[in-house]
């Protein structure tokens, strides 16, 4: 980042000392004091005008840029409101110091030390989205009409923005945060070294320097991370295009490195700390993905359960428990259960999906780290053998180290946050179950109150039902029997005289149970088949023929023979 082109007030080169030491000392002391005062003045005055510009941007300019979508405005102006809040308070504190001339410098140092943390937090965010904001500005520049409008708005509010209006404005916070160390340094240079004020101011200066460094580091990390976390859906063509000789050679050297590692030819860079972290991350991932798929199965089953509506049957029963049940079931199916399902989907399923998605980034980075590690080891080897490495090879080492430190720094946090969220999701699941139970119970108890036997205890009721069902079971059985008895009643056929004697003979020989009357004329088909007129009495010998065919019976007519079944009925 480059500091803005701000005019430097004061401190042109000090002219060399002249004259007597004492008088000169006092002179240079006075001169220092004057410079110090000027530097303090500069700090505060520039802070005032900085804040003023910020406020104009955040309110006047932003509100007039109506033609840009809200999403764009959010990227362009990022967290400028937060910056304004912090700087306003900083300015207030700085202005307060003016009344305490003696200690002003020390108080200024204190103020910056106090605000160090906040400044870092708030400018870090702004800085991280700055690149994207610049990209947006570029796209606007390509549309002349839009560009003119934007420029017009800016010029109306801040004419000093000049021709590069929007980008000029957006870079101002970055310039300011890097300016603080320089401004403080200027005051420090003109402060007497052995004073307490000096010590404090010195700490403040280096603190603000740290802030700038941290912001840079944060930005760099984010760039590295975004380069590797992107899980891009590449088309086949894109994938082919990516395989050039460079990546191919990378891949083959990685493989050979891995093989060397496995073979023990190259010491594997053991990093127990990382391995433990990775292992834990692996289990966290497993936990999340398993839970997600189990939850999906649960939801599927719930959906299936809601598809069946036994209560839709119509037994034409006008009242009583049947109707009660139908009301209850319909109510549950239309309200309680769908609500439960909705809440499950919104408060358990969706968050689980989001959580599962976040796994992709770290997974990718871990993989990349391993790739880079293999590259790194090869580079180390080469360094040992050859004594030097190419720039590209050095870059691999840096990337590995960046990835490694990034993961070591953030994986513990990830694991912790992910597990915390998982726990909350599970708790929500449990709470929703309880709420469903409450809903159903309320309605079911209402129905229960209207049932005839609601006063009975459950065991007593169960006994009652068992008895009732036993009785009705008997009743059903008798219905069934009745229907099966819808048989032809004995048709009394007039018997020929001779036949009567025959029947008597058969009766005495076989008993009445075995006597059958032919109900319709039977004509025999085969040689052993009988031809019998209707009304003839025969005695059943066997209800199947010699071949086991039960549609033909062996009967005794006084003679013997087979008769087909149809036409045989018992008198």
């Amino acid at each position: 980042m480059e500091p803005a082109d701000m005019t430097n007030h004061g401190d042109d080169a000090l002219s060399s000392r002249t004259g007597a030491p004492d008088g000169d000392d006092r002179l240079s002391e006075d001169r220092s004091l004057v410079q110090q005062r000027l530097a303090v003045r500069e700090l505060i005055d520039t802070e005032v005008s900085y804040l003023h510009v910020l406020q104009l941007c955040a309110s006047d300019i932003r509100s007039r840029l109506q033609q840009l979508p809200q999403g764009d405005l959010d990227v362009l102006f990022s967290n400028i409101d937060d910056i304004i809040k912090v700087n306003r308070r900083l300015l207030h504190d700085l202005q307060e110091t003016a009344s305490r001339e003696e200690e002003q410098v020390q108080l200024i140092g204190n103020a910056f030390l106090e605000f160090q943390e906040e400044l870092e937090q708030v400018y870090k965010v702004y800085c991280a989205s700055y690149e994207q904001a610049l990209l947006l500005v570029e796209t606007y520049r390509k549309e002349p009409e839009l560009q003119r409008e934007i420029q017009g708005i800016i010029e109306a509010v801040l004419p000093q923005a000049g021709p590069s209006g929007l980008s000029f404005l957006l870079v101002i916070p970055l310039q300011r945060i890097t300016k603080y160390p320089l401004l403080l340094q200027k005051i420090l240079e003109n402060t007497l070294p052995d004073t307490s004020a000096y010590a404090v101011l010195q700490r403040a200066t280096s603190a603000l320097q740290d802030v700038v460094t941290n912001i840079n580091e944060y930005k760099r990390r984010k760039e590295v991370a975004s380069k590797y976390t992107k899980v891009e859906p590449l088309s086949l063509r894109e994938r082919l295009a990516r395989i050039n000789t460079h990546t191919l050679s990378k891949k083959t050297t990685r493989l050979s490195q891995l093989l060397k590692q496995e073979a023990g030819l190259v010491p594997r860079t053991e990093d127990k700390e990382f391995d433990d972290l990775e292992e834990r991350f692996h289990w966290v991932s497993l936990c999340v993905t398993e839970l997600k798929s189990n939850m999906a199965a649960y939801l599927d089953n719930l959906e299936a359960f809601l598809r069946f509506w036994p209560q839709d049957c119509n037994l034409e029963i006008p009242g009583g428990p049947v109707v009660q049940y139908c009301y209850l079931a319909r109510d549950l199916q239309l309200q309680a259960f769908p609500e439960f399902k909705q809440q499950l989907e919104a408060q358990v399923w969706q968050p689980l999906c989001s959580l599962a998605k976040t796994l992709a980034g770290p997974q990718n980075l871990i993989k990349k780290r391993l790739d880079k590690l293999l590259d790194f080891e090869r580079v180390e080897e080469k360094l040992l053998e050859v004594g030097s490495v190419t720039y590209e090879e050095e870059a691999a080492r840096h990337t590995y180290q960046a990835l490694n430190s990034l993961l070591v720094a953030e994986l513990p946090q990830f694991n912790q946050l992910a597990m915390r969220w998982l726990g909350q999701i599970l708790c929500t699941f449990v709470t929703l179950q309880r709420d469903l139970a409450k809903q159903v119970l309320q309605r079911a108890e209402d129905s229960l109150a209207q049932l005839p036997h609601h006063h009975l205890s459950e065991p007593a009721f169960r006994k009652l039902v068992e008895d009732a069902l036993g009785q009705t079971s008997h009743q059903l059985h008798s219905f069934q029997e009745n229907f099966e008895k819808v048989l032809p009643p004995p048709t009394t056929q007039p018997l020929l005289p001779g036949a009567e004697r025959q029947v008597q003979a058969l009766l005495s020989k076989y008993g009445p149970g075995k006597l059958y009357q032919v109900t319709s004329n039977v004509s025999g088909a085969g040689t052993l088949d009988l031809t019998l007129p209707r009304g003839h009495i025969v005695a059943l010998l066997q209800n199947k023929d010699t071949k086991g065919n039960s549609s033909r019976w062996l009967v005794d007519t006084g003679g013997g023979g087979h008769v087909p079944l149809r036409g045989q009925k018992q008198p």
Binding site: G320, A418, F461, F479, Q480, N482, F483
Partner: protein, 253 residues
């Protein structure tokens, strides 16, 4: 009974009065409906309880898989939570099984028994139909001879035909009467038959959901999660997501 065009073999006289026929059809029709409905009810009830069991099993799987994750060995709090969850799920599954057993015994079995009467009924109706056909045929035969010139042989045949007709007619009348008596009785029996089953069904729900409410109520207290309104939960979830997204290692999508 479909309209059969008049042809040889069909009597001219309407042997069964229209009102009787209508009554029969109405009663049988109601029973056919009832058969359809009870069969459907039985099927749906079975499918519903199967789905219910499946749901319960998948709930148990949730906690089972969590319990088998190695994180349980590292993290005591996690282990406690997951163990409590697992206990609750297993107990709920047991209660669910009990509920389903009760439904099986007091609703599905009785439905099956009720339904098993229908085949006998349908057979009986078929036999009546058969008897009706026989009756019609013999009636037509008698009428045929009655229309012929009254010669000796004709008279003899007429007498025989009448003799054949009599038992068949009696048979049909008997069947018809029996069915006309029994069918409404059977139909009405459904009122007393089903009420206990459905009462039992409602009670089974009360028993189960009481347990469910207690078990999950205790569990929420144990997990120390206060109930919060939906919007708050939504915000919580968004906050958790933002926390994760704030990390550089998490991809922005």
């Amino acid at each position: 009974m479909s309209w059969i065009p008049f042809k040889i073999g069909q009597p001219k006289k309407q042997i069964v009065p229209k009102t009787v026929e209508r009554d029969f059809e109405r009663e049988y029709g109601k029973l056919q409906q009832l058969e359809e409905q009870t069969r459907r009810l039985q099927k749906d009830m079975k499918k519903s309880t199967d789905a219910d069991l499946a749901m319960s099993k998948s709930a148990v799987k949730i906690s089972l898989d969590l319990l088998s994750n190695p994180l349980c060995e590292q993290d005591q709090d996690f282990l406690n939570m997951v163990t409590a969850l697992d206990t609750a799920m297993k107990r709920m599954d047991a209660f669910n099984q009990e509920k389903v057993n009760q439904i099986q015994k007091t609703v599905i079995e009785p439905l099956k028994k009720f339904g098993s009467v229908f085949p006998s009924l349908n057979m009986a109706v078929k036999r009546r139909e058969q008897a009706l056909q026989d009756y019609r045929r013999l009636q037509a035969k008698v009428e045929k001879y009655e229309e012929k010139e009254k010669t000796g042989p004709v008279l003899a045949k007429l007498h025989q035909a009448r003799e054949e007709l009599r038992p068949v007619r009696d048979d049909f009348e008997a069947k018809n009467k029996q069915l006309l008596d029994e069918m409404p009785r059977f139909y009405n029996s459904r009122l007393d038959y089903f009420q206990p089953s459905f009462e039992s069904l409602i009670r089974a729900q009360v028993v189960y959901y009481s347990e469910m409410h207690k078990i999950f109520g205790d569990l929420t207290q144990q997990l120390d999660q206060p109930g919060c309104p939906d919007e708050q939960r939504e915000r919580e979830n968004e906050a958790r997501l933002s926390e994760l997204r704030a990390l550089s290692i998490v991809a922005d999508d």
